[in-house]
Symmetry: C2
Subunit: 486 residues, 2 copies
Amino acid sequence: MAEISLYHPYPAAQVATWDYETDVAVIGFGAAGACAAIEAADAGARVMLFERGSGSGGASALSGGEIYIGGGGGSDAQRAAGFEDSTEDFAAYLKAAGGPCADEEKCDLYARESLAHYAWLKSQGVPYRGNYLPGKHIEPTDDSTLIWSGSEAAAPFCDIAKPAPRGHVIAHMGWGGGRPLVDILESRARDLGVDVVSDARAVALVQDGDRVVGVVVRIDNQPRFVKATNGVILCTGGFVFNDEMRRRYCPETFKINSPIGDQDDGSGIELGVGAGGDAIHMDQFFTTCPWTMPEPQAHGVFVNRAGQRFINEDCYHGRVSRCALDQPGEGVYLLLDIAHFDQPLEMAGMTIAGTGDSWEEVEGELGMAPGTLSATMAFYNVHAREGRDPLFDKKPPILTPLDQGPFVALELNFATSYFSFFTLGGLRTSTDGEVMGRDGKPVSGLFAAGRCTSGLPAWGHGYSSGFSLADCTFFGRQAGRKAAAG
Amino acid sequence: MAEISLYHPYPAAQVATWDYETDVAVIGFGAAGACAAIEAADAGARVMLFERGSGSGGASALSGGEIYIGGGGGSDAQRAAGFEDSTEDFAAYLKAAGGPCADEEKCDLYARESLAHYAWLKSQGVPYRGNYLPGKHIEPTDDSTLIWSGSEAAAPFCDIAKPAPRGHVIAHMGWGGGRPLVDILESRARDLGVDVVSDARAVALVQDGDRVVGVVVRIDNQPRFVKATNGVILCTGGFVFNDEMRRRYCPETFKINSPIGDQDDGSGIELGVGAGGDAIHMDQFFTTCPWTMPEPQAHGVFVNRAGQRFINEDCYHGRVSRCALDQPGEGVYLLLDIAHFDQPLEMAGMTIAGTGDSWEEVEGELGMAPGTLSATMAFYNVHAREGRDPLFDKKPPILTPLDQGPFVALELNFATSYFSFFTLGGLRTSTDGEVMGRDGKPVSGLFAAGRCTSGLPAWGHGYSSGFSLADCTFFGRQAGRKAAAG
């Protein structure tokens, strides 16, 4: 018997008995896997879905259930709140947010199809209240539908594409809409006859020549051979819990310490590369520290250890956090005056590093040279009073003078504050979810979606909330349809 | 007949006739390939070396012929100039310079073996004059042996490891010592009976099960099958001339525009990955703009478009350049006063963006808000007069006040100035030059060295001149010996 390995496909010729036979085998039961299964089943394929855990969820169920949607004139929620949103602006924003890693074809396709995707989500039973919640939120604090979820209204993005709020959130009271979102998708998949097998870990692909024809799953500690006539769809998540992979491909993440995911060990990426797939942008990751809460803190100013600002703080909290990590040293400081200070979230692990009745005093407490932080804040305040930020183009209403002492500097320490993160690099896929080989051709019979691929959320510095679920659900569907078609 | 492809090994069972048979096949005739061939032949193996160009050279021949050497108390040249250098400090510097990408085993081994490697280079006929050239140089302007070639004496590296100059350069008048270095190595390889075949491009590996047993080379537009009983050594360089690979793995390089290399199209990386090898740190690249010449310019101060400093300008020119690329916008400015201004190198493509009798005037000419650049320079000058730099710890003698007007700001524009670059990511190899699979095991029969691997120069922000040739020559030798041993 050939070796069963994540790294090398198992030769079909050596499969003695197929334990299962199906048209489409989906690996992983997060949002990507659920959507792939739904579409494949809807197209008439027999679908088996294998999940290594005991139930559905994946990283999707840990999320806020927020999906990035817009374009086409605007969704119901966007239009009701007075926001127009063109497909062109939507696509332009997606591309800018993908930075040097953007997959322009995926951006264009998703911008065109986003409203239809929203309608599809509703048709699966995902509820949306339809209203807009103003302000700056990480997730809605109530059951609202629409929030600003990225850097749309902030420089430089607002100069590239007309901004609109596009974070569409399942009707769910408070944080954590990801769980009910996956529950609804699971229920829909089961209704369509998807055969769900839990506690079943994919350990190898089966290949016949260049074509993937099945997968080996470990069930009850035994390898089971699954024949998948039309194809295998990998929806296994990223590699944030695989330290070896992080070290080889994404070592910057060792600066920070709060991985988010659900057994995201990169196994799907290994399976895909072993079968001839290409893994791209493996150095990219999302990170954020919840520094915008309580709300007054969103008015704060960030400086690095040289007392310099480095970002327009009105952009997305994740972009601020990712740019913070680029600063030299062990952390950055969030500066607040008494009018904007509140007890930081305990979870955030932000500590008070300095206080004072003047910025000069804070500067001294932080051990910075006189004329560094204090000069930065004097410059900032002069212009904030005029409603402008000549350095980074931060805009009102977040732009307010911080000149009412006493003052405080909160430290966001890379090692000890809560910088949650997950990986963004993964298999290169076509807009139809085909895994692409390094030769630029699809790997026959192999598909993938979600964070085991590089998709809409390609670039850590440009991430917006809702990108990953948009990518998972939409390109999961694409993969499901394509695989079902054989 | 199976397909001949960079991306998939050719099955040995389908080779009708072997056109050549050898013990060790080396692919690529730069310094890495030459050293691999020499060691393999020296160990008694039959060696064939295939080079796609018409002669030896590769990117090595375009270099300064500088090799990073030290430790063990110091080389002859180091000691003659009064520099001690411990193996511990050497290893610590190599690791710091590798940043999050450092391969600690390679750093430790090379630090221990560096002086023996230097002796070996001499024994191959590489001449060294043995003297030290003080100052800050990209390459020696004469035929000197030893220069400061990295950020050893600059923060933060000088606080991590006791600094010493370690750039050891072949005796060669002026720039361009790489060509004579490769010539000497070529001559040595030929003397040892290495069978060199030029105009022969490797187009596929041949695998028998998991073992690489040969290579397909294209000669006179025909595929030729080369049986390599003991192994194949890939020494094919990086992927700086492969735009598709750059886009997938290293897209930051599209900001800049002057790739350096010799047909470095990543083919060896593709061959290695196709055979089961792992490619790591593919996002990393070296870049530099020759801003330290003429010499007075080395005293300049860099600011970004916000008028902020971002680096201690006394560190290595490549580190300064790489950190410059991290700044927002299209470029950075090098600020000089009349005492330190000279006509910049035409090659550098640096243009005068602003002038003035005061820094306030320069600031205005650059369109910066009052109190940005001028405040930065006032702060800098106050402390430079005291011989210190509280922000970035730049040190004398490069640290001098810039307060004698008139003043000038030279723009280093990412798109139009000369930012030369090459890629640093590549195959993961053991300290013996074995290509390592994603499963952590060597790919049997496959070896690699030089820029088709990730080696000592792993991290763009920490590169020092001489890292790449040290890596090529030393780990090329390692691979040659290991392959010869079968």
